[in-house]
Symmetry: C3
Subunit: 115 residues, 3 copies
């Protein structure tokens, strides 16, 4: 059976706690190997990846990543915020452009959710 | 003919007035029996259902409900906010998990809108 | 080949800068004639079209419009904000109702993005 593919779009720092709870709860509700989850972070949301004060939140993201959730960071947003992709936490992967990723993923059948 | 299915996702208290106006205007614009509308409230948005100071807004939701709009409340969000689902207004129905509902509804052909 | 159709939904004034950057970056990333982009502005977002203090932002929207991006303004929102559609900048077109437009466009295959 095809996995259910879900894309979470996070574009603001303040939305991360809500997004992380959303995904944690969703994973409690489904069989992990029946879903494919990607988080596209663009605009200001990429800053949180580098925020040491958000350690508890970043740890929960790392746990979700260990459960198979893909976290991404828009390169345009990294550049606009003067952030080096080499300094991203290991669970977050840079992608060339957030909107392009969202468009491509929806074209591949991902369901779009904005937390 | 198949009805048009539309899902409104509300995740913040502040967004309710906008969401309610959106749905009121949409229903003025279409034949009521050609659409199927569901509102999924999760995260902080569920708190508004219990806010007596929002009576005017809740009355308008009740009116929309009488016109066939389904209002839901994510149980995870109710629990996280210490709210008892028995105390929900009669027009709002608890659902096990907001994100699961949004995924399932989109899989059934619902169009996603975040007001 | 069919163009990729993308709809950006903007419902708050504060979101415009993010939306405009999103579209500018997206257009750098794709061949212009392979995409069809529409921006649906409803609720408070329509006010920005009339805000002389946002000239730099409006100029960038006008440039995007010259590149083929369609900017729209929900008539319900214009009315609710006491704004005359005749005074819209020439690049922005009034539409009867924002939500109806979003529903119809998604039904036509547009991908939904909320910046």
């Amino acid at each position: 059976m095809q996995p259910i593919k879900v894309l979470f779009h996070v574009s603001e720092q303040e939305v991360w706690p809500k997004a992380v709870v959303n995904i944690e709860n969703y994973l409690k509700d489904v069989e992990k190997d029946t879903v494919e989850i990607e988080v596209v972070a663009n605009a200001g949301a990429v800053v949180t990846y580098f925020n040491a004060e958000k350690k508890e939140l970043l740890d929960r993201m790392a746990n979700l990543s260990a459960d198979g959730v893909r976290f991404t960071a828009c390169r345009n947003a990294l550049k606009a915020n003067g952030l080096a992709e080499e300094a991203l936490p290991s669970f977050a992967k840079p992608i060339p452009a957030g909107i392009t990723e969202i468009v491509n993923r929806q074209n591949e059948g991902f369901i779009y959710i904005k937390p």
